[in-house]
Symmetry: C2
Subunit: 335 residues, 2 copies
C-alpha cells in the first residue's frame, strides 16, 4: 500500500542556527517542498539583511536537497511602510510573539491590541503581508490560548484585509474562532493531534512532549483532529518542530518544544489512515496552505509505503518524538 | 519574632526503605512529633509482621530523635475482621490506593465501590480503623480528583461510622465535599498550598514540583488555602513528602513526588504569617489531627524564629522543594 504526497509543506518550522541548523535543516528539506521558517533566533530576525543571510545559511545547511525556506520577520510594532515595502520581496510573513511567551521571545510585543500594533499592521494590510501569531496570554497555562482568542478577534475585525494565522492552535476555542472571521486561519502541529496533557504529565513527566502551547484536554484534541482530518479549508499543517539539545530537555527546567520534522509525514499518514481519512491528507499537508497563502511551492513528490519504520533514538543530540518507537509507514521515494 | 508549635504532626508521609529511609526519616523525626507512614513499599505493607518490622526500621533510622511513626496497612479488599482485629493495635489507619495511580500502587484496588470494598470496610467501621484514600480516577489528569469525589461520597454514605480521610486534596471540589459528609476529612500538603500547574509546566518544566495528584488551577489552590489558613476543623497537614533520588526526578520519565519534610514547618510559618493567620497554624499542624483521629501524640515543642534559612540544595541525593532558596523563618530550638 502506498500514498503519494505532492509538494508537502510545513507552515511553521524552527530551524535554529549554527550547528543545530546543520543537524535539522536537511531533515525537513528531505521530505518537505517548503516551510515557513520562524524568526526567533538570538537576536531575532528583524532586518532585511538578517532575512537574507539566514536564508543563505539555511540553503547551505540543506546541501543538495531542493527546499524553499519561506522567510519571516520577527514582529515589531514600529516597522514602517517603507521598510516593509522593501522587505516584502524577501519575506513570506511576519511572526508576532507576545514578549517572553516562549523560546527566544523576549523581544516580543508587551501590549497586544489593535492600537499598539496599528502602524505595522496597517502597512502589512496594504502590502498583503500575512501575520502569523503565537496566541497565548500570560495567564494560567491551560487558559492562555483561550484568553488570547478575543485578541485574535479584535485584530481580525480591525484589520479585515490582513490574513491572520493562529499558529499551532491547541483548543476548541480557537477552532470555533476560525468560523467567525473570514481572515482567520490556523496551523496545527502533529503532536497536538496526538497528545493531551495526560501524555506530558499524566503518568510520569515526559519532557520530550513538553511544548508551548502545552497540550490541552481530550475535547480540545478532538476538535483539532476533526478539522485536520476533514482538511477544513482554513487549517494547514505546521509542525512547530522545535529542536533542543538533549541536555536542555532532560534537566531541571526543561525547555519547551517537540522535535517532529523527520517523522511528520510518516506519522500523519498513519494517523489519517487510522481515521480512514487518507484522501484528505493532500489538502492538509499542502493544498490548503497554497490557497491560503496564494503561492506555488517548488516541485517535490514524496511516496510513502506501509512498511515499518523505527524512529531513530536521536538525530545528533536532538531526541525526536517517538524516539525508538515503530511507525507503520515509511518514506519509499522522493522525487 | 518567634512562634512555638506544639507536637507538630505530619498526617501523610513517605519514608521509603533502606538507604532512602536512613536519609529522610531523621529529617521528619527532627521537627515532627509524629507522622502517618504510608505503606506503599515494594512489596507493600500488608501483614502485621510487615508493619512491625517496618516500624522497627523507621525507629532505628531516626536514631536519637523522639518520633512516633503511626503505621498503616496497604488496603486489600479481602482483609478479614479477625485479621484487622489483631492488626488494630499495630496500625493507625489503612491506606487505599486505586491500582497503578501513583508510585508503587500496582497492588492497589482496581474497582472502587462500596460493594467491592464491603468486607474490609465493614470490619474497619466496626473496629474504628480510619480509611486514608488516594482519591483519583484514571481519567484526564486535571479531572482525576474531581471524578473521584462521587466515590468518596458513596463510601461516606454507605459506611457512616467509617472515618474517611481524603488524602492530599488539590481541588475545590474536594473542599466542597468536606461540607456534605460528617465522616469525610482531608489532609493538605505544603506544596499544593503554594503551587499550581503553572509552576510545574507554565514556564520551563520543573520535575521537582511534579507530583500526584498534579497541582491544579489557581481557584483550586485558593480553596485549599482558605480552609488551611482558617484551620477548618476537618483539615489537617499531611506533607505527602515523597523522596526520589535525583536521577529519577531529572530524567526522561520523571517520577512523581515533592520532597518537603525538612522545610515544611519553616515554609508553613512563612505562609501563615504572609496571610496574617499565624494564630491558626497550631490547629492545622496538630490540634485538628488530634481531634479527628482522637489520639495524643508524644511531646515535642518546636520554636521557629524569623531568621533567614537557606534550603540545602540536596539531602544526600534527594532534592528538596525550594532547593537553594531563602525562607524567612528557621528552626530555633526543639525540645
Amino acid at each position: 500500500m502506498e500514498i503519494t504526497l505532492n509538494k508537502p509543506l510545513d507552515m511553521h518550522l524552527h530551524l535554529r542556527d549554527n550547528e543545530m541548523l546543520k543537524t535539522v535543516a536537511p531533515l525537513s528539506a528531505k521530505t518537505f517542498s517548503s516551510a515557513i521558517i520562524m524568526p526567533n533566533l538570538v537576536p531575532p530576525v528583524t532586518t532585511i539583511e538578517d532575512v537574507i543571510s539566514y536564508k543563505e545559511r539555511i540553503i547551505e545547511a540543506c546541501g543538495d536537497e531542493s527546499f524553499d525556506p519561506l522567510m519571516t520577520l520577527f514582529f515589531k510594532d514600529d516597522y514602517s511602510y517603507d521598510f516593509l515595502n522593501s522587505a516584502k520581496e524577501h519575506i513570506f510573513a511576519i511572526k508576532l510573539y507576545p514578549a517572553g511567551i516562549t523560546t527566544n521571545s523576549e523581544g516580543g510585543v508587551s501590549t497586544i491590541d489593535s492600537e499598539t500594533l496599528k502602524k505595522t499592521l496597517e502597512a502589512m494590510s496594504e502590502l498583503g503581508i500575512p501575520l502569523c501569531v503565537h496566541g497565548e496570554s500570560d495567564g494560567f497555562v491551560m487558559d492562555r490560548e483561550k484568553e488570547f482568542v478575543p485578541i485574535y478577534e479584535e485584530l481580525a475585525t480591525k484589520f479585515p484585509n490582513l490574513k491572520i494565522i493562529m499558529e499551532h492552535i491547541t483548543t476548541k476555542d480557537s477552532v470555533e474562532a476560525l468560523e467567525r472571521h473570514s481572515n482567520l486561519y490556523a496551523t496545527i502541529t502533529l503532536h497536538h493531534l496526538l497528545i493531551t496533557l495526560d501524555d506530558v504529565a499524566g503518568g510520569m513527566l515526559h519532557p520530550h512532549l513538553f511544548c508551548k502551547p502545552i497540550a490541552k484536554r481530550p475535547e480540545d484534541r478532538a476538535a483539532l483532529l476533526k478539522v485536520a482530518l476533514d482538511a477544513h479549508p482554513k487549517v494547514m499543517f505546521g509542525s512547530d518542530s522545535a529542536p533542543h539539545p538533549k541536555h536542555a530537555k532532560e534537566s531541571c527546567g526543561c525547555a519547551a518544544g517537540v522535535f517532529t520534522a523527520p517523522i511528520a509525514l510518516q506519522v500523519l499518514v498513519e494517523l489519517f489512515e487510522k481515521h480512514d481519512k487518507l484522501e484528505n491528507l493532500q489538502k492538509f499537508i499542502s493544498d490548503n496552505a497554497q490557497k491560503i497563502y496564494n503561492f506555488k511551492p517548488c516541485e517535490k513528490v514524496v511516496t510513502l509505503e506501509k512498511k515499518s519504520f523505527i524512529v531513530p533514538t536521536s538525530y545528533n543530540d536532538v531526541i525526536p518524538m517517538y524516539a525508538g518507537k515503530e511507525i507503520s509507514w515509511s518514506i519509499k521515494s522522493i522525487s
